[in-house]
């Protein structure tokens, strides 16, 4: 393929698809604050893992319950 073919293709594509209207029409800061608050409220995954591990220990090793109560 030569440069002329490339130019023809470029022109054809540009006629069919115009550049996107990339102007921002609203302030996104309120959405940003919402995103930040959402994440602050979320419990981190390792807390869930810790909770799960503790529950498993209590189920499978019930002897741990007095020890746990003592430390609480």
């Amino acid at each position: 393929m030569n440069e002329t073919d490339d130019l023809k293709l470029r022109e054809f594509l540009k006629k069919g698809l115009r550049p996107a209207n990339a102007e921002l029409r609203r302030d996104l800061w309120p959405s940003m604050l919402g995103r930040m608050e959402k994440d602050e409220l979320r419990v981190p995954w390792f807390d869930w893992v810790l909770l799960g591990a503790m529950a498993a220990c209590l189920v499978f090793v019930p002897q741990m319950i007095p020890m746990l109560l003592y430390h609480l």
Binding site: L9, K14, G16, L17, P19, N21, A22, R35
Partner: protein, 175 residues
């Protein structure tokens, strides 16, 4: 203390100032890639959220704009992977309305479908270079690849597009 240094230290006011300063630029860049206003807004917020979380890794001697664009580009690429074969490229009604009336709707749809069929890493380069006229250097910086790699990807994308649209491109009928 400079704004970028305050941001790197986790100052929320500095983050807000940078957000207000760069939100339009980041949105515009993402919009050029995904071509959907709603998705571009969501990705802009998500990109800034990642920057906020990664503030400690930001080097205040470097350009915030380039860093922001790189993060936003990675998110937009992930989005293109999700959107592939799900959402047509031209979904913005304003985009359709602004399209060249001399080009048949069917042809526009074929062009959109041809772009949609490209692998995301080719599509992003093809869209930015062929439709948005973004210089190769800027595309390379945003994708974290060399300009040569941009030219290679563009060449591959054009080859696929030419093949897909060989019946429609004027002068290609002989092929």
């Amino acid at each position: 203390m400079e704004l970028l240094e305050r941001f790197a230290q986790g100052d929320r006011d500095a983050f807000e100032e940078l957000f207000r300063q760069y939100q339009g630029e980041v949105f515009g860049w993402v919009m050029r890639i995904v071509r959907d206003r709603g998705i571009a807004e969501d990705l802009t917020v998500e990109a800034f959220w990642r920057m906020h979380r990664a503030h400690a890794r930001f080097d205040p001697t470097r350009s915030f704009g380039a860093w922001a664009r790189r993060i936003a580009t990675n998110l937009a690429l992930d989005q293109l992977r999700k959107m592939r074969r799900e959402v047509p490229l031209v979904v913005d009604t304003a985009d359709v309305a602004r399209a060249n009336p001399a080009i048949q709707r069917e042809t526009r749809e074929q062009i959109a479908a041809a772009f949609q069929g490209l692998a995301p890493k080719l599509r992003v380069v093809a869209t930015l270079s062929l439709i948005e006229d973004v210089p190769h250097r800027e595309i390379a910086e945003a994708l974290g690849i060399s300009e040569v790699a941009v030219r290679v990807r563009l060449s591959r994308a054009m080859k696929i597009l030419r093949e897909q649209l060989k019946e429609q491109v004027p002068g290609n009928e002989r092929n």
